[in-house]
Protein backbone atom coordinates (compact mmCIF):
# COMPACT_ATOMS: atom_id res chain seq x y z
CA UNK A 1 0.00 0.00 0.00
CA UNK A 2 1.39 3.41 -0.94
CA UNK A 3 1.65 6.41 1.32
CA UNK A 4 -0.90 8.11 -0.90
CA UNK A 5 -3.31 5.27 -0.33
CA UNK A 6 -2.86 5.48 3.39
CA UNK A 7 -3.44 9.23 3.39
CA UNK A 8 -6.50 8.87 1.20
CA UNK A 9 -7.88 6.41 3.70
CA UNK A 10 -7.52 8.77 6.58
CA UNK A 11 -4.03 8.17 7.97
CA UNK A 12 -2.30 11.50 8.13
CA UNK A 13 -0.08 13.32 10.57
CA UNK A 14 -2.09 15.38 13.03
CA UNK A 15 0.44 18.17 13.15
CA UNK A 16 1.33 19.13 9.57
CA UNK A 17 1.61 22.84 8.85
CA UNK A 18 0.73 23.92 12.37
CA UNK A 19 2.55 26.24 14.72
CA UNK A 20 4.59 24.22 17.25
CA UNK A 21 2.26 24.99 20.14
CA UNK A 22 -0.80 24.07 18.07
CA UNK A 23 0.86 20.86 16.94
CA UNK A 24 1.73 19.98 20.52
CA UNK A 25 -1.83 20.67 21.66
CA UNK A 26 -3.22 18.47 18.93
CA UNK A 27 -0.82 15.69 19.77
CA UNK A 28 -1.86 15.96 23.37
CA UNK A 29 -5.53 15.82 22.42
CA UNK A 30 -5.00 12.84 20.13
CA UNK A 31 -3.16 11.04 22.92
CA UNK A 32 -5.93 11.85 25.38
CA UNK A 33 -8.63 10.64 23.00
CA UNK A 34 -6.64 7.47 22.31
CA UNK A 35 -6.22 6.79 26.02
CA UNK A 36 -9.92 7.38 26.68
CA UNK A 37 -10.91 5.11 23.80
CA UNK A 38 -8.56 2.41 25.06
CA UNK A 39 -10.33 2.55 28.41
CA UNK A 40 -13.64 1.63 26.75
CA UNK A 41 -14.77 -1.94 26.12
CA UNK A 42 -14.23 -3.00 22.50
CA UNK A 43 -17.94 -2.98 21.75
CA UNK A 44 -18.39 0.51 23.19
CA UNK A 45 -15.47 1.74 21.10
CA UNK A 46 -16.82 0.44 17.81
CA UNK A 47 -20.32 1.66 18.63
CA UNK A 48 -19.32 5.23 19.45
CA UNK A 49 -16.96 5.54 16.48
CA UNK A 50 -19.38 3.81 14.14
CA UNK A 51 -22.24 6.04 15.21
CA UNK A 52 -20.42 9.36 15.40
CA UNK A 53 -17.93 9.05 12.56
CA UNK A 54 -19.25 6.45 10.13
CA UNK A 55 -22.96 7.12 10.41
CA UNK A 56 -23.80 3.49 11.13
CA UNK A 57 -27.37 2.93 12.23
CA UNK A 58 -28.41 1.22 15.44
CA UNK A 59 -29.66 -1.65 13.28
CA UNK A 60 -26.32 -2.02 11.50
CA UNK A 61 -24.37 -2.00 14.74
CA UNK A 62 -26.91 -4.38 16.23
CA UNK A 63 -26.19 -6.83 13.44
CA UNK A 64 -22.44 -6.32 13.83
CA UNK A 65 -22.48 -6.95 17.58
CA UNK A 66 -25.44 -9.31 17.57
CA UNK A 67 -27.41 -7.14 19.93
CA UNK A 68 -30.69 -5.27 20.00
CA UNK A 69 -31.08 -1.64 18.90
CA UNK A 70 -31.83 -0.77 22.49
CA UNK A 71 -28.59 -2.34 23.69
CA UNK A 72 -26.59 -0.49 21.02
CA UNK A 73 -28.26 2.77 21.98
CA UNK A 74 -27.36 2.20 25.62
CA UNK A 75 -23.78 1.31 24.68
CA UNK A 76 -23.49 4.49 22.64
CA UNK A 77 -24.85 6.64 25.41
CA UNK A 78 -22.53 5.06 27.97
CA UNK A 79 -19.53 5.38 25.65
CA UNK A 80 -20.19 9.05 24.95
CA UNK A 81 -20.60 9.76 28.63
CA UNK A 82 -17.40 7.88 29.47
CA UNK A 83 -15.43 9.65 26.76
CA UNK A 84 -16.58 13.10 27.82
CA UNK A 85 -15.86 12.32 31.44
CA UNK A 86 -12.45 10.85 30.64
CA UNK A 87 -11.47 13.83 28.50
CA UNK A 88 -12.61 16.22 31.19
CA UNK A 89 -10.52 14.36 33.74
CA UNK A 90 -7.55 14.88 31.45
CA UNK A 91 -8.26 18.60 31.37
CA UNK A 92 -10.05 18.78 28.06
CA UNK A 93 -13.22 20.76 28.38
CA UNK A 94 -15.43 20.70 25.34
CA UNK A 95 -14.54 24.27 24.41
CA UNK A 96 -10.81 23.50 24.71
CA UNK A 97 -11.18 20.51 22.47
CA UNK A 98 -12.96 22.52 19.82
CA UNK A 99 -10.46 25.39 19.97
CA UNK A 100 -7.50 23.09 19.37
CA UNK A 101 -9.19 21.39 16.46
CA UNK A 102 -10.04 24.72 14.87
CA UNK A 103 -6.41 25.72 14.97
CA UNK A 104 -5.88 27.49 18.26
CA UNK A 105 -3.49 26.44 21.00
CA UNK A 106 -4.82 25.08 24.24
Amino acid sequence: MSLDDETAHGHEPATDELAPEEAAARQELVRAVGDCLEALRAEMRVVVLGRLLDGLTLEALGRLLRGSKDRIWRLERAARRSLRSCLEQKGWEAEDTLAVIEGGAR
Binding site: G10, P13, V33, L49, D54, I101
Partner: protein, 172 residues
Protein backbone atom coordinates in the same frame (compact mmCIF):
# COMPACT_ATOMS: atom_id res chain seq x y z
CA UNK B 1 -25.31 17.30 15.39
CA UNK B 2 -21.58 17.93 15.28
CA UNK B 3 -19.97 18.25 18.64
CA UNK B 4 -16.44 18.70 19.84
CA UNK B 5 -16.43 15.02 20.80
CA UNK B 6 -17.01 14.08 17.18
CA UNK B 7 -14.24 16.40 16.04
CA UNK B 8 -11.87 14.98 18.66
CA UNK B 9 -12.63 11.43 17.58
CA UNK B 10 -12.19 12.35 13.94
CA UNK B 11 -8.86 13.98 14.70
CA UNK B 12 -7.72 10.86 16.56
CA UNK B 13 -8.80 8.59 13.74
CA UNK B 14 -6.93 10.63 11.15
CA UNK B 15 -3.71 9.84 12.99
CA UNK B 16 -4.31 6.10 13.03
CA UNK B 17 -2.55 3.58 10.79
CA UNK B 18 -5.14 0.84 10.74
CA UNK B 19 -3.00 -1.74 8.93
CA UNK B 20 -4.19 -4.24 6.32
CA UNK B 21 -7.83 -3.82 5.42
CA UNK B 22 -10.27 -6.72 5.66
CA UNK B 23 -11.46 -8.19 2.38
CA UNK B 24 -14.86 -7.44 0.92
CA UNK B 25 -15.99 -10.89 1.98
CA UNK B 26 -14.93 -10.25 5.57
CA UNK B 27 -16.73 -6.90 5.61
CA UNK B 28 -19.80 -8.48 4.10
CA UNK B 29 -19.78 -11.17 6.79
CA UNK B 30 -19.42 -8.49 9.46
CA UNK B 31 -22.27 -6.43 8.04
CA UNK B 32 -24.60 -9.38 7.54
CA UNK B 33 -23.76 -11.77 10.37
CA UNK B 34 -21.75 -9.77 12.89
CA UNK B 35 -19.22 -11.18 15.31
CA UNK B 36 -19.51 -13.30 18.41
CA UNK B 37 -16.60 -11.55 20.14
CA UNK B 38 -16.32 -7.75 19.71
CA UNK B 39 -12.67 -7.92 20.82
CA UNK B 40 -11.57 -9.59 17.56
CA UNK B 41 -8.94 -7.60 15.61
CA UNK B 42 -11.21 -6.82 12.67
CA UNK B 43 -13.58 -4.89 14.93
CA UNK B 44 -10.63 -2.96 16.29
CA UNK B 45 -9.64 -2.20 12.72
CA UNK B 46 -13.13 -0.87 11.98
CA UNK B 47 -12.82 1.54 14.88
CA UNK B 48 -9.57 2.95 13.48
CA UNK B 49 -10.28 2.89 9.76
CA UNK B 50 -12.51 5.48 8.09
CA UNK B 51 -12.43 3.63 4.78
CA UNK B 52 -13.65 0.33 6.23
CA UNK B 53 -16.17 2.11 8.43
CA UNK B 54 -17.60 3.74 5.31
CA UNK B 55 -17.67 0.47 3.40
CA UNK B 56 -19.38 -1.25 6.30
CA UNK B 57 -22.01 1.51 6.30
CA UNK B 58 -22.63 1.04 2.57
CA UNK B 59 -23.00 -2.71 3.00
CA UNK B 60 -25.26 -2.23 6.00
CA UNK B 61 -27.43 0.20 4.02
CA UNK B 62 -27.66 -2.30 1.18
CA UNK B 63 -28.74 -4.98 3.64
CA UNK B 64 -31.33 -2.62 5.13
CA UNK B 65 -32.68 -1.79 1.66
CA UNK B 66 -32.80 -5.49 0.93
CA UNK B 67 -34.91 -6.20 3.98
CA UNK B 68 -37.82 -8.37 2.90
CA UNK B 69 -36.34 -8.83 -0.56
CA UNK B 70 -34.52 -11.80 -1.91
CA UNK B 71 -31.37 -9.93 -2.70
CA UNK B 72 -27.76 -10.92 -2.94
CA UNK B 73 -24.65 -8.81 -3.07
CA UNK B 74 -21.38 -9.38 -4.81
CA UNK B 75 -18.17 -7.53 -5.40
CA UNK B 76 -17.11 -7.07 -8.99
CA UNK B 77 -14.41 -5.19 -10.86
CA UNK B 78 -13.70 -1.64 -9.84
CA UNK B 79 -11.88 -0.73 -13.02
CA UNK B 80 -13.63 0.48 -16.15
CA UNK B 81 -15.15 -2.53 -17.78
CA UNK B 82 -12.96 -3.74 -20.63
CA UNK B 83 -12.64 -7.41 -19.77
CA UNK B 84 -15.32 -9.90 -18.70
CA UNK B 85 -16.39 -9.84 -15.08
CA UNK B 86 -17.84 -12.92 -13.44
CA UNK B 87 -18.93 -12.80 -9.82
CA UNK B 88 -20.76 -15.11 -7.51
CA UNK B 89 -23.11 -13.42 -5.09
CA UNK B 90 -22.45 -13.63 -1.40
CA UNK B 91 -25.18 -16.17 -0.70
CA UNK B 92 -24.06 -18.38 -3.58
CA UNK B 93 -27.42 -18.19 -5.33
CA UNK B 94 -26.42 -16.31 -8.48
CA UNK B 95 -23.48 -15.96 -10.79
CA UNK B 96 -23.50 -12.65 -12.63
CA UNK B 97 -21.33 -12.13 -15.69
CA UNK B 98 -20.75 -8.99 -17.72
CA UNK B 99 -19.04 -9.59 -21.06
CA UNK B 100 -18.05 -6.32 -22.76
CA UNK B 101 -17.91 -6.41 -26.54
CA UNK B 102 -14.56 -5.41 -27.98
CA UNK B 103 -14.61 -2.03 -29.74
CA UNK B 104 -18.16 -1.32 -28.68
CA UNK B 105 -19.73 0.48 -25.74
CA UNK B 106 -21.93 -2.45 -24.86
CA UNK B 107 -21.88 -5.75 -23.02
CA UNK B 108 -23.89 -8.92 -22.58
CA UNK B 109 -25.08 -9.42 -19.01
CA UNK B 110 -25.98 -12.92 -17.85
CA UNK B 111 -27.29 -14.31 -14.61
CA UNK B 112 -27.06 -17.98 -13.82
CA UNK B 113 -28.86 -19.51 -10.85
CA UNK B 114 -27.06 -22.13 -8.75
CA UNK B 115 -28.55 -25.59 -9.34
CA UNK B 116 -29.97 -25.85 -5.83
CA UNK B 117 -32.18 -22.78 -6.42
CA UNK B 118 -33.18 -23.34 -10.05
CA UNK B 119 -36.55 -24.95 -9.47
CA UNK B 120 -37.61 -22.30 -6.98
CA UNK B 121 -36.60 -19.42 -9.23
CA UNK B 122 -37.55 -20.77 -12.66
CA UNK B 123 -39.74 -18.28 -14.51
CA UNK B 124 -39.05 -15.42 -12.12
CA UNK B 125 -37.86 -12.07 -13.41
CA UNK B 126 -34.33 -11.36 -12.29
CA UNK B 127 -33.03 -7.81 -12.01
CA UNK B 128 -29.40 -6.80 -11.67
CA UNK B 129 -28.43 -3.35 -10.40
CA UNK B 130 -24.99 -1.81 -10.12
CA UNK B 131 -23.69 0.09 -7.11
CA UNK B 132 -25.36 3.29 -8.25
CA UNK B 133 -28.71 1.57 -8.68
CA UNK B 134 -28.50 1.46 -12.47
CA UNK B 135 -30.40 -1.46 -13.94
CA UNK B 136 -28.03 -3.73 -15.85
CA UNK B 137 -30.52 -6.46 -16.65
CA UNK B 138 -34.14 -7.34 -16.13
CA UNK B 139 -35.12 -10.61 -17.72
CA UNK B 140 -37.00 -13.84 -17.08
CA UNK B 141 -35.12 -16.86 -15.83
CA UNK B 142 -35.37 -19.76 -18.28
CA UNK B 143 -33.59 -22.98 -17.43
CA UNK B 144 -31.81 -21.14 -14.66
CA UNK B 145 -30.40 -18.40 -16.89
CA UNK B 146 -31.26 -14.89 -17.99
CA UNK B 147 -29.36 -12.52 -20.23
CA UNK B 148 -29.60 -9.16 -21.90
CA UNK B 149 -27.64 -6.47 -23.69
CA UNK B 150 -26.33 -3.42 -21.88
CA UNK B 151 -25.19 -0.16 -23.45
CA UNK B 152 -23.23 2.73 -21.94
CA UNK B 153 -20.47 0.98 -20.03
CA UNK B 154 -18.65 4.18 -19.10
CA UNK B 155 -21.13 5.00 -16.35
CA UNK B 156 -21.18 1.48 -14.96
CA UNK B 157 -20.11 0.92 -11.37
CA UNK B 158 -19.71 -2.80 -10.83
CA UNK B 159 -17.89 -2.57 -7.51
CA UNK B 160 -21.07 -3.99 -6.06
CA UNK B 161 -23.85 -5.80 -7.84
CA UNK B 162 -27.30 -6.38 -6.42
CA UNK B 163 -29.49 -9.16 -7.72
CA UNK B 164 -33.12 -9.73 -6.96
CA UNK B 165 -35.74 -12.05 -8.32
CA UNK B 166 -39.51 -11.55 -8.31
CA UNK B 167 -42.48 -13.35 -9.72
CA UNK B 168 -45.78 -11.63 -10.47
CA UNK B 169 -45.04 -8.75 -8.13
CA UNK B 170 -43.84 -10.94 -5.30
CA UNK B 171 -40.26 -11.35 -4.29
CA UNK B 172 -39.03 -14.89 -4.68
Amino acid sequence: MRTSLIEALALWRRTQAPGPHPSFEELWTLAADGVRDPAVPVVGHLARCARCGGELRELAEAIDEASGWDVALAKAASARLTTPVVVGTACGRYTVAVHPRPDADEAVVTVEVAPAFRDALEGATVTVLDRGGRELLSARLVLGRASGRLRGLASLDCTRVVVRAERRGEHV
